[in-house]
C-alpha cells in the first residue's frame, strides 16, 4: 500500500519540476546569467574602446564612491555619482508618492463602480500601455514644452506672460514617470480593494466614522498589501528609468540609468557601469527590505 503511494508522490514531484523547467531555464539564463556577467565585469579593467580586459581589479568599485584627481592624485568623494544616486532615489520616491496620491482615489473610484462598468475603466487605465514608451514620452514632451499645449493655452488665456519652464526639470521627469507607471500603482490597489467587503466600510460609517476616518482607519489598513505592491512596482522601475529622464530631463538632469548607460557608451568604462548597476541593485534591495519591514510591522506584531 505504501509503495504505490510513495511512487505516485515521487512521480508528482518529478512532474512538478518538469512543469517548472521552462520558467527555471528562463530565470537562470535571462535573469541570473546577465546579472552574474555584470557582477564579474565590475571586477575587471576597462578596455580602450569599450569592452573589458580580463584583469582582476577593484578600481571600478573604488570609482563608484571616490574619484582621483588626474593631476595631484588626491582622492575625493565621487560627488557626481552620489548626487545622481540621491537624485534618482528622490525622484523615484516623489513619483511613487504622486502615483499613490493619484492612483489610490482612481482605484477606489473603479472599485466602487457597478461590476459591469469596472472592466471598461480598467481598460482605460491600461490603454496607454499599448503605446510605445518612447512615443508616450514624446507626447508628454509635446504637452509640457515651452511652445506646447499647456504653455500655449496659458499664454493665450493671458494667465502668464512668458512660458513656464516645465520641460527639462526634475518635475518633468517625475511627471513622465508618473504617467508611465501609474497603472502599476492602480492595478494592485484595485485588486485588493475589489476583494474588500464593502459592508465593512459601511460598518465604519455606521459606527460614527466620517469619510476621512473610514479611509484612514478601515480602507487603508485593509488595502495595504495592494499599496505596498503598487509602491514597489512604481519605485523600482522609476529608480532604473532611462528613457524618461533622458528625453524629459534633457542632457543635464541625469538619473542612475543614464549614468550607467553613459559608462557603457561614451564613457567606455564597462566595469564602472557594471559596478554602478550592481550598486543600484543593492540599493533597490535594501530599500525594499526596509520598506516591507516597516509597512508590515503591525501585521507581524498581530500575526
Amino acid at each position: 500500500m505504501t509503495e504505490p503511494v510513495n511512487s505516485r508522490m515521487h512521480k508528482a514531484a518529478v512532474n512538478r519540476w518538469l512543469l517548472l523547467a521552462p520558467a527555471l531555464v528562463i530565470l537562470c539564463f535571462a535573469a541570473s546569467g546577465p546579472l552574474l556577467i555584470v557582477l564579474v565585469y565590475s571586477f575587471l579593467q576597462p578596455g580602450d574602446y569599450g569592452g573589458v580586459v580580463w584583469n582582476f581589479s577593484i578600481e571600478a568599485w573604488f570609482n563608484v564612491l571616490f574619484q582621483e584627481d588626474i593631476f595631484d592624485e588626491t582622492v575625493t568623494f565621487a560627488d557626481a555619482h552620489l548626487s545622481i544616486f540621491w537624485r534618482s532615489v528622490r525622484l523615484s520616491f516623489g513619483t511613487t508618492v504622486m502615483a499613490f496620491v493619484i492612483g489610490f482615489p482612481t482605484a477606489y473610484f473603479i472599485a466602487t463602480r457597478p461590476k459591469q462598468q469596472r472592466d471598461m475603466w480598467l481598460l482605460l487605465i491600461i490603454i496607454p500601455f499599448w503605446t510605445n514608451l518612447l512615443i508616450r514620452t514624446f507626447a508628454i514632451m509635446e504637452v509640457i514644452r515651452n511652445e506646447g499645449v499647456i504653455n500655449s493655452a496659458l499664454l493665450a488665456a493671458g494667465v502668464i506672460d512668458s512660458p513656464i519652464q516645465i520641460l527639462f526639470t526634475d518635475f518633468a521627469i517625475m511627471l513622465g514617470m508618473l504617467y508611465v507607471y501609474l497603472p502599476l500603482m492602480v492595478l494592485p490597489i484595485y485588486a485588493s480593494m475589489e476583494r474588500l467587503d464593502f459592508s465593512i466600510v459601511e460598518a465604519g460609517y455606521d459606527l460614527y466614522a466620517s469619510r476621512f476616518k473610514v479611509l484612514r482607519r478601515i480602507i487603508l489598513p485593509l488595502v495595504k498589501p495592494g499599496v505596498i505592491a503598487g509602491s514597489i512596482l512604481v519605485f523600482v522601475p522609476s529608480l532604473g528609468a532611462y528613457v524618461t529622464p533622458r528625453v524629459l530631463g534633457g542632457g543635464k538632469n541625469l538619473m542612475v540609468g543614464n549614468l550607467i548607460e553613459l559608462q557603457f557608451g561614451q564613457g567606455r568604462n564597462w566595469p564602472l557601469g557594471s559596478a554602478l548597476a550592481v550598486t543600484l541593485l543593492v540599493i533597490v534591495m535594501v530599500a525594499l527590505l526596509f520598506y516591507v519591514r516597516v509597512a508590515t510591522k503591525e501585521d507581524i506584531k498581530h500575526g
Binding site: L207, R217, H302
Partner: protein, 367 residues
C-alpha cells in the same frame, strides 16, 4: 398607531418609497410604506426574500436615501443625515467585523469615533465583553473566533455606543440551529437588559413569532399587516400573511348579517358561524375566511358540525396528528389534533366526519 404622535415612537416611517434604477431596470423596493416603531420594542420585519426588508433597514441606517417620504427618529426627520450622524447602529448579516482589529478594538471603535475619553471607552468595552460573554477572547483577531462568537462581537460593537435604535439584518441566519436558538434567547435578554429599541429582520416566521413584541409582515415592498405575534397569527388580515405564517385553511364564505353576536359568515356547508372582520375589509358579499388547523376539531356527530368532509389522509407527528379532509365542495381542509395517551387512532381514512370550529376561530380576509 397614531401618525401624528411621534413622541413615544422611536422610529416613524412615513410614506417611504425606494426605487432603484430607471426605465427597464426599475425596481420598486419599497412602495409607500408607513409604520411606527415604539420605544423599547422588539420590532420584527418579516417577509420572503426580496420583499424589501434590508432596504427598509438600510434607509433607517442611512446607507440609502428614500426616493419619497420621511424617516423620523424620536420625532426628528433624519432622512438627510449621513449614517455617521445617526444615533442608530447596525448588526450586519455578514457581521462586517474589522479584520485588522482585535475583538476589543472592534467593540470600542464606535466610542472612539464619537471621541469618548479612553477610560470611558475601556470601561464600556469591558461591560460589553461581559454582556456578550467574550471577555476571555478580547485580544483575539476576528478571524480567530467562531461564527457564533463573531456574531456576539458584532452585537457588542453595535450596542457599545448605546444607540437609540439597533438594526439587525438576519443576524442569526448564518448560525446552525442549536446556536441559533441560543442566540435568540440571548438577543431577547440583551434587548431587555439594555432597553434599546430593536428592529430585527428575518424571513423565519417561527423566529419572528417567538422573539417579537410587534411584527410587520412585508411582501413586494409593502407592509401588509403590523401587530403582536398573536394578532398576526390568530387574525391575519391578508391572504399572504395567513399563508406565510403557519399553516391554514382557506374557505369561501358569504358575509351574513351583523347580528347581536357580531359578524356571521355562511360557510359552503350552509351553516353560519361567528367571524372576525379585518379593519378595512368589505362588509358584504363573498369573502375568503381562514381557519387554523388547530382551531378545528373532528367529530363523529355530523349534524351539529360547521363543516363535513371525508378523511383522506392521516399524518402522525408525535405530539399531534394532522387530518387531511376533503369537504363536500372538494376544498381541502386540515385539522390538527393533540394526540392522546391511549395511543388509539380515533378515526380511519375514508370516514365521513364533522368539523367543529371553535369560537373566534374564523377570520375574514381583506382580499
Amino acid at each position: 398607531m397614531n401618525s401624528s404622535n411621534g413622541g413615544s415612537q422611536a422610529v416613524r416611517i412615513e410614506a417611504v418609497s425606494k426605487v432603484f434604477g430607471e426605465g427597464e431596470g426599475r425596481v420598486v423596493a419599497l412602495d409607500n410604506v408607513t409604520v411606527g416603531i415604539r420605544q423599547n420594542e422588539f420590532f420584527t420585519l418579516l417577509g420572503p426574500s426580496g420583499c424589501g426588508k434590508t432596504t427598509l433597514l438600510r434607509l433607517i441606517a442611512g446607507f440609502e436615501h428614500p426616493t419619497g417620504g420621511e424617516i423620523l427618529l424620536e420625532g426628528a426627520d433624519i432622512s438627510a443625515l449621513p449614517p455617521y450622524a445617526r444615533p442608530v447602529n447596525t448588526v450586519f448579516q455578514s457581521y462586517a467585523l474589522f479584520p485588522h482589529m482585535t475583538v476589543a478594538q472592534n467593540i470600542g471603535f464606535g466610542l472612539e469615533m464619537l471621541g469618548k475619553p479612553r477610560a470611558e471607552i475601556d470601561r464600556t468595552v469591558d461591560d460589553m465583553l461581559q454582556l456578550v460573554k467574550m471577555t476571555e477572547l478580547k485580544d483575539r483577531h476576528t478571524n480567530q473566533i467562531s461564527g457564533g462568537q463573531q456574531q456576539r462581537v458584532a452585537l457588542a460593537r453595535a450596542l457599545a455606543p448605546h444607540p437609540k435604535v439597533l438594526l439587525l439584518d438576519e443576524p442569526l441566519s448564518a448560525l446552525d440551529l442549536k446556536l441559533r436558538k441560543e442566540m435568540q434567547i440571548e438577543l431577547k435578554r440583551l434587548q431587555n437588559e439594555t432597553g434599546i429599541t430593536f428592529v430585527f429582520v428575518t424571513h423565519d416566521q417561527e423566529e419572528a413569532l417567538t422573539m417579537s413584541d410587534q411584527i410587520a409582515v412585508m411582501n413586494n415592498g409593502k407592509i401588509l399587516q403590523v401587530g403582536a405575534p398573536r394578532d398576526i397569527y390568530d387574525h391575519p388580515a391578508d391572504r399572504f400573511v395567513a399563508q406565510f405564517i403557519g399553516e391554514t385553511n382557506f374557505l369561501t364564505a358569504e358575509l351574513a348579517s351583523r347580528g347581536k353576536s357580531g359578524t356571521q359568515v355562511k360557510l359552503p356547508s350552509g351553516k353560519s358561524v361567528a367571524a372576525a372582520l379585518p379593519a378595512d375589509g368589505r362588509t358584504q358579499g363573498l369573502v375568503t375566511v381562514v381557519v387554523r388547523p388547530e382551531h378545528a376539531r373532528l367529530t363523529k356527530v355530523k349534524s351539529k358540525a360547521a363543516l363535513t368532509g371525508t378523511l383522506e389522509n392521516i399524518v402522525y407527528f408525535g405530539t399531534d396528528t394532522h387530518y387531511h379532509l376533503q369537504l363536500e365542495d372538494k376544498t381541502p381542509f386540515i385539522v390538527r389534533e393533540q394526540n392522546q395517551p391511549d395511543g388509539q387512532a380515533p378515526y380511519r381514512e375514508g370516514d365521513q366526519l364533522g368539523i367543529e370550529i371553535g369560537a373566534d376561530a374564523v377570520q375574514v380576509l381583506r382580499d
